[in-house]
């Protein structure tokens, strides 16, 4: 998989920085999560367009993927399925405004690490990312 890592990502990996991809078609979620995670010491790319995010994950690997479930154009479940197929090791956190047990179960079956219902607290999602880091032995941020 190392062949797919871009120079920037490689540099981040060298610095031991955890990489995160955020996908949510509500721009406000990206606008708030990107600077929030950057400030906490992460390397972040955020997308509002599922097709672009899909394109991006075929180019490189992310340590953590945070995605909405319900979006125009692409089902979040399909997206995380794709991510897991490419990188079984990537930790996925699902965020959604329509939290039902059924979707939760379904996403857990697909290997989702955590499930956060909107609206959520910034601390909650940071906590989720940190637990992924701990489990996968990434742990760079405070």
């Amino acid at each position: 998989m190392t062949d797919d890592i871009s120079p920037a990502a490689a540099a981040d990996a060298a610095k031991g920085r955890t990489s995160i991809l955020v996908l949510d078609d509500e721009p406000i979620v990206c606008k708030r999560l990107r600077p929030f995670f950057q400030k906490a010491g992460y390397e972040v790319e955020a997308f509002t367009n599922p097709a672009e995010a899909l394109e991006r994950v075929t180019q490189r690997r992310f340590d953590v993927v945070i995605t909405d479930l319900k979006m125009e154009g692409l089902d979040g479940l399909a997206f995380l399925g794709k991510v897991k197929a490419l990188y079984p090791d990537t930790g996925v956190i699902v965020i959604t405004g329509f939290a039902t047990m059924e979707t939760a179960r379904e996403s857990f079956r697909k290997g989702v690490f955590d499930f956060v219902a909107k609206p959520f607290k910034l601390a909650e999602i940071l906590d989720g990312v940190r637990r992924i880091e701990k489990e996968k032995g990434l742990g760079t941020a405070k």
């Binding site: 406000i28 600077p35 929030f36 400030k39 906490a40 959520f120 607290k121 601390a123 405070k142």
Partner: protein, 854 residues
């Protein structure tokens, strides 16, 4: 129990209600529960503004929908309970619901219909009415307390009315749409046609009269000249439109209407049309509010960038200044002095460059402005001294922290030495911020953390400065400019030093408390409930508070502060934030305060909160009157509680709240209801039911209280006497003592998750200031006991739930004490200090009593 149908329930109600009281009480109880869940939902929506949450568009739609549904059901419940159609209440509901839907649909409902708003009344809450530029100026004056020119704004509403009457609103809308559709075909002609029509349009008579009158009043006896400035929607906000719209300077009051039309017409100048076409994909209808201000007779004026655009290192701010009025400086046609200052207090001068200044712009007494030559002795002098530079720098940093953006500030010093802020607009430093993402991650990673992960964000943001630990009033007096306030408890007392402080950390406190609300208003990064910050942080220690991440770093982490300012989007300016704030205006304010007032009617309900309040009051009244007229309804008849204290309380026992027995009176020992028993213990405890002699000047006040009690006692069937509905675990208490009105609704003793106390306190006979002090006092005390507290006017509500039963009973004991203690306290609250003294006094007494109980 078999439930009768609704029809049976109401048949022959007045004669002999056919159902047991417990059934009616269930309906009543469901109203209370719904009322509480409505208030909680309102509170939740308010919390989302705090910065701790990420919420999206869908959340706003969903919660408005849910809330509307609950309020509708609440109104329906009341109709059932009271067997009334309540048409006017449904109408009130529809009205509020409609306003909310309009807001959500992007049709801004102007909350004020005035043509003219004085600057003194303007803040960002009225940005739709006053336009962005004037609303910002309003914030600078009214929230931050800076001097700005005197003036008023002719509102966006006035613009719409004038355009509508002249038949131009439709033309403008068609033109905008056409340009959007055709990507700007015929833009030049369209612009010219619209502008000419506006320049010659007649203004509605009431509008022109109001503007002329306000202009004359502003100009005063001396006929001072006026500046007429654009303040369009979106200007100086997310989109800049910088310099596109017209400002007319040096206007004599007699010429005000022409200047007004000129500024309106500039809304459709070619640049603006083009800009909107490219940047505003929705082609939202534009609007122009117009600011009218008295021209400032400036001795020196100029501009200030809080970040110097070209300096690579040290990140200083830069000031340019010249003698006279500022226009040539802004236009770049004047020779100016340039100063680079440090951003950190005390803002030392890094370098200065003084140029020879041969001319200056001055006011022409006959109207307009004129260029004059600068007297020889001033030409080569620096036009700002050290003190002025320091004042300028401090002011600019306060503005920057408030607006959360690097700023371009226009300012002037008048001959008497007053600093006047003319304008502040966002300054984009984005080109340089590309690499900041990397920097910030590194900087934050290496900075030593003092503590992290503790507390609740009451207001997000980053602040660095020196710790100033505060624990009594004298500490407030010498609070240093630029310090970070660290305190044991949150308190609204800190409001007065907030403009000076960069950040706040409190060991104890809630994100919905009074202080948090003020911190949000002033946008001061605030962390509450941080545990032991007062012990971990040292006086004078330099720290950086990152309230978003709940991290406190040792030292100044400059990269973090810089990053905070260069964020692409300020949360407070996002559509989501603004829209939520806007819909909340129709939801959360409580304007229906006094149930005894004539205004306590469905027609007066302006918000969902008002409706909920109204329904609650009516439901309580109904329950009391039912209990009085139909004593046979209850399982046992209502019984009077014999107490040492003059409570005049009637108890309706629904299920096991009283020991079985006969007679219409019971003693306190017969109370089996655990929450009631605890609250009575608190009232009876030594030193709680205030018995000290009352000062002589309060004699008349006391007699009014006594009268109320004796009236209650001599007429036990009168409305308004005190009522407790109880079961073994449940208490619903409505208590009017003197003029204080208290509601307690508690369920304690089931599973820990069901444990809940709701407490509400309001009323009082003294002036509003004293009542507010008492509200603050009650709120402070409740917060100390883990209540989530909301204050509106002199009403305080507190909620706490899911604590172990023992701890909850302890809180009930405290509430009993509090009700007794505050019973007639407001008359004595003659100062804020007295309020704080009583908080301490109460806490000491109650803690001694609680220890003794254990």
């Amino acid at each position: 129990m078999e439930l009768p149908s609704i029809k049976d329930l109401f048949a022959g109600w007045r004669k002999k209600p056919p159902v047991p009281f417990s059934v009616l009480f269930k309906k009543f109880k469901s109203i209370l529960e719904r009322n509480n869940s409505i208030l909680e939902l309102i509170g939740d929506m308010g919390d989302k503004l705090g910065g701790d949450y990420v919420f999206d568009r869908q959340y706003i739609f969903d919660s408005c929908e849910r809330l509307g549904d609950q309020v509708f059901k609440l109104v329906s419940d009341l109709s059932l309970l009271c067997q009334r159609k309540n048409v006017s209440l449904f109408t009130a509901f529809e009205r509020v619901q409609h306003q909310i839907r309009e807001e959500l649909a992007g049709r801004r409902a102007l909350s004020r219909s005035d043509h003219i708003l004085p600057l003194a009344e303007l803040t960002h809450d009225l940005a739709d009415e006053g336009g962005n530029k004037m609303a910002s100026l309003g914030d600078i004056r009214n929230i931050l307390g800076c001097t700005v020119p005197e003036g008023f704004v002719v509102t966006a509403g006035a613009y719409f009315e004038a355009m509508e009457r002249a038949g131009l609103r439709k033309l403008a809308a068609q033109t905008t749409k056409h340009l959007c559709d055709t990507r700007g075909q015929g833009l030049e002609e369209a612009s010219l046609r619209l502008r000419q029509s506006i320049l010659s349009m007649p203004l509605p008579r009431s509008l022109s009269k109001a503007v002329e009158q306000a202009a004359r009043k502003l100009a005063g006896e001396g006929g001072a000249l006026l500046a007429v400035r654009s303040s369009a929607w979106g200007e100086d906000g997310e989109s800049s439109f910088a310099g596109m719209y017209e400002s007319v300077l040096g206007v004599a009051p007699a010429d005000i209407l022409d200047a007004y039309r000129r500024v309106l017409a500039s809304l459709f100048c070619e640049d603006a049309l083009r800009y909107r076409m490219h940047h505003d994909t929705t082609c939202e209808e534009p609007a122009m509010a117009v600011g009218v201000m008295r021209m400032v007779d400036a001795r020196t004026s100029g501009g200030l960038y809080t970040y110097a655009p070209l300096q690579e290192h040290d990140q200083p701010m830069v000031v340019s200044a010249a003698w006279g009025l500022g226009k040539p400086i802004v236009d770049g046609t004047a020779e100016t002095d340039t100063y680079f200052l440090r951003r950190e207090p005390p803002h030392e001068t890094i370098s200065s460059e003084v140029s020879p200044k041969t001319t200056r712009l001055g006011l022409d007494p006959s109207g307009g402005t004129r260029t004059e030559s600068v007297p020889a002795e001033l030409r080569d002098n620096a036009c700002l001294d050290r003190g002025q530079l320091a004042l300028l720098a401090e002011t600019a940093m306060n503005l920057e922290r408030f607006f959360k953006r690097p700023l371009d500030v226009e300012w002037a010093f008048t001959p008497d030495g007053t600093l006047t802020v003319l304008q502040a607009r966002p300054l984009s430093i984005r080109p340089r911020s590309c690499s900041l993402g990397e920097d910030v991650a590194e900087a934050a990673k290496d900075a030593p953390v003092i503590f992290s992960g503790k507390g609740v964000t009451a207001m997000g943001g980053v602040a660095s400065g020196r710790v100033h630990i505060v624990d009594n009033d004298p500490d407030l007096a010498d609070f240093p400019y630029g310090g970070i306030l660290v305190a044991r408890h949150s308190s609204p007392r800190y409001a007065r030093i907030m403009p000076k402080c960069r950040g706040i950390i409190a060991d104890v406190g809630s994100a919905t408390g009074h202080m948090a609300t003020i911190a949000r208003e002033l946008r001061v990064p605030t962390l509450v409930g941080a545990g032991n910050a007062t012990r971990v942080l040292r006086q004078g220690q330099e720290i950086t508070l990152d309230a978003d991440h709940k991290v406190v770093y040792d030292g100044a982490v400059e990269a973090l502060c810089r990053y905070e300012l260069s964020k692409e989007d300020v949360f407070e300016e996002s559509w989501e934030y603004r829209t939520l704030k806007r819909v909340l205006r129709h939801i959360s304010p409580l304007t229906l305060l006094d149930p005894k007032s004539d205004q306590f009617r469905p027609e007066s309900c302006k918000t969902f909160h008002d409706i909920a309040r109204y329904v609650h009051q009516r439901a309580v009244d109904k329950l009391i009157s039912l209990a009085e007229t139909h004593q046979d309804l209850t399982e046992g008849a209502p019984r009077r509680l014999a107490t040492k204290l003059p409570l005049g309380m009637t108890i309706i026992d629904v299920d096991g709240g009283l020991a079985p027995g006969e007679g219409d009176e019971v003693g306190e020992d017969a109370v089996r209801c655990r929450p009631l028993s605890a609250i009575l213990d608190g009232m009876n405890a030594a030193g709680m039911w205030e018995t000290r002699p009352v000062p002589v000047d309060l004699g008349s006040f006391m007699s009014s209280v006594t009268r109320t009690f004796s009236a209650d006692q001599s007429h036990p069937t009168r409305m308004g006497r005190n009522l407790a509905v109880v079961s073994r675990e449940y208490l619903n208490l409505h208590l009017r003592l003197g003029y204080h009105f208290t509601v307690v609704d508690a369920y304690l003793g089931g599973s820990i998750n069901d444990n809940v106390i709701f407490f509400r306190f309001m009323g009082g006979v003294t002036d509003f200031t004293r009542r507010s002090r008492r509200a603050t006092l009650v709120a402070d005390i409740l917060e100390q006991f883990d209540f989530v507290v909301e204050t509106a006017g002199d009403m305080v509500t507190g909620r706490v739930k899911k604590h172990p039963t023992r701890a909850m009973l302890d809180k009930m004991f405290m509430l009993g004490g509090l009700i007794g203690y505050t019973r007639q306290l407001d008359a004595m609250l003659d100062s804020d200090e007295a309020g704080q003294r009583h908080v301490q006094e109460f806490l000491q007494r109650i803690s001694a009593l609680r220890e003794a109980r254990e």
